[in-house]
């Protein structure tokens, strides 16, 4: 067959292209998720999230020393619930920003690198739909990864032992309540995770470079942790996007306190809004250079 042998498919009137807005963004979201699921890096991360915690439990089982410098660390041999809490306390602040950075820091700049913006921007989806759809895909990955980690860390801990665990006011927390608190602690990291997603998107869009998008997110996460060591005033500490990762401390108090968690909702909403808005403003009227 050749290009001239038969008539080309004739124009058939307005297609679903007209249904823009949310439906359009969802179409982009679906396409991006399909592209993501085919990437080896993504599959590796999800696989690691599933088996990793069980590996940690096995590792801890084989030695008598306990992790220091982190709450719950001393109790890992006494109660299985201490294991997911140690993982969260130790790794939450730097694993989670890197986790979302890998996708969100690349999903826009990859098209800059490959020169494919001019391909996907010349279909039936406007810039807003493409921006929103990619954002949704990055957020979907981050949320999914955290949910997988929550479930597997909790299961690994339960497998290690269901004795009551010592909380952060010295109180004994029975197994049933401890299960809820572990789940709630992990889920309380969703807002800062989404905040870092927006930050990674901003870096990706502004720099058009995946190294800056991914690496920059990790570096900024580390910088937050350094800045937090200084004796900043309370509002300063709460303004950092790393602080919300630890707001679950209050859940384990007796009595429990929720001030840090409420502050974290405010902080994360502010970071999310600011970074997303800035990224959109940069993207909406940008010139897409045709790369030869």
């Amino acid at each position: 067959m050749s290009l001239a042998a038969e008539p080309w498919p004739a124009y058939a009137g307005a297609t679903s292209a007209r249904t823009g807005g949310v439906a359009g963004a969802l179409a982009v979201w679906r396409v991006e998720l399909v592209k993501l699921s085919g990437k080896i890096v993504i599959r590796a991360i999800i696989a690691l999230s599933v088996i990793g915690p069980f590996l940690v439990v096995g590792f801890l089982h084989l030695q008598s020393a306990t992790p220091g410098d982190t709450p719950f660390g001393q109790w890992v041999h006494a109660s299985g619930f201490a294991i997911p809490m140690t993982i969260l306390g130790f790794g939450g602040q730097w694993i989670l920003p890197a986790l979302t950075g890998v996708v969100a820091g690349d999903i826009y700049s990859a098209d800059d690198h490959l020169g494919t913006w001019k391909t996907i921007l010349t279909r039936s989806r406007g810039r807003a739909e493409l921006f929103a759809g990619k954002f949704l895909a990055a957020a979907t990955f981050a949320v999914t990864a955290l949910l997988v980690l929550t479930v597997t860390d909790l299961l690994a801990g339960l497998a290690a032992g269901r004795s009551p665990v010592v909380g952060l006011s010295g109180q004994l927390v029975p197994a049933g309540h401890a299960t809820w608190l572990v789940a709630a602690s992990y889920l309380s990291d969703l807002p800062p995770l989404l905040g870092f997603t927006a930050l990674a998107v901003l870096l990706s869009v502004a720099s058009r470079n995946s190294v800056v998008g991914i690496g920059g997110t990790v570096v900024i996460g580390v910088l937050f942790q350094i800045v937090t060591l200084a004796n900043l005033p309370q509002w300063g500490q709460q303004a950092l996007l790393s602080t919300p990762f630890m707001s679950w401390h209050g859940f384990w108090g007796a009595p429990a306190f929720y001030g840090p968690f409420l502050w974290s909702l405010l902080t994360c909403a502010a970071w999310f809004a600011a970074c997303s808005a800035a990224a959109w403003l940069i993207f909406r009227r940008r010139t897409i250079e045709a790369a030869a």
Binding site: V166, A206, L223
Partner: protein, 152 residues
């Protein structure tokens, strides 16, 4: 790249401004937040320790544990902020009914969490393990206290 420069610049300025405020700041890392938290944790953990050792049950309220904390260092330092604090916990032991003082070296972080390392007496918090019924060795709950208080 100009856009990225602007974004990075905004972050840098904000971070520097934030750091600048740390020179003259009032935080909530003060004795009147640390003391009640440490006292309560001690009382709960003392009760746990006694039950693990197989001793008669103690209620944490009956101990009337009170913590008194001072920020460490030889010079007069401001009694606030993260760092090393020296705490003494006074509590009443049932039976004899006299006050006992337990000492702790407390490492306080900026997020309101602390690790209190037991500094005597040896029988209370000096040893990392205690012996339970049947000569079982378990972690001494009072030797290292991990706690957090509300800084907001």
């Amino acid at each position: 790249m100009k856009r990225l420069g602007r974004v990075a610049g905004t972050f840098a300025v904000a971070a520097l401004a934030l750091l600048a405020t740390s020179c003259s700041s009032s935080s909530n890392l003060t004795p009147d937040r640390l003391q009640p938290s440490l006292g309560r944790a001690f009382a709960n953990l003392y009760a746990l320790q006694q039950s693990e050792m197989g001793n008669p049950r103690v209620t944490s309220a009956a101990l009337k544990a009170r913590a008194s904390c001072e920020k460490g260092g030889t010079l007069d330092v401001a009694q606030q902020g993260s760092g090393v604090w020296l705490c003494q916990i006074t509590y009443l032991v049932a039976g004899p009914g006299y006050p006992v003082i337990a000492k702790y070296n407390v490492d306080l972080q900026t997020d309101g969490c602390y690790a209190a390392d037991g500094d005597g007496p040896a029988s209370v918090n000096g040893s990392p393990t205690i012996t339970g019924p049947g000569y079982r060795q378990v972690i001494n709950p009072l030797s290292l206290i991990d706690g957090c208080f509300d800084t907001t």
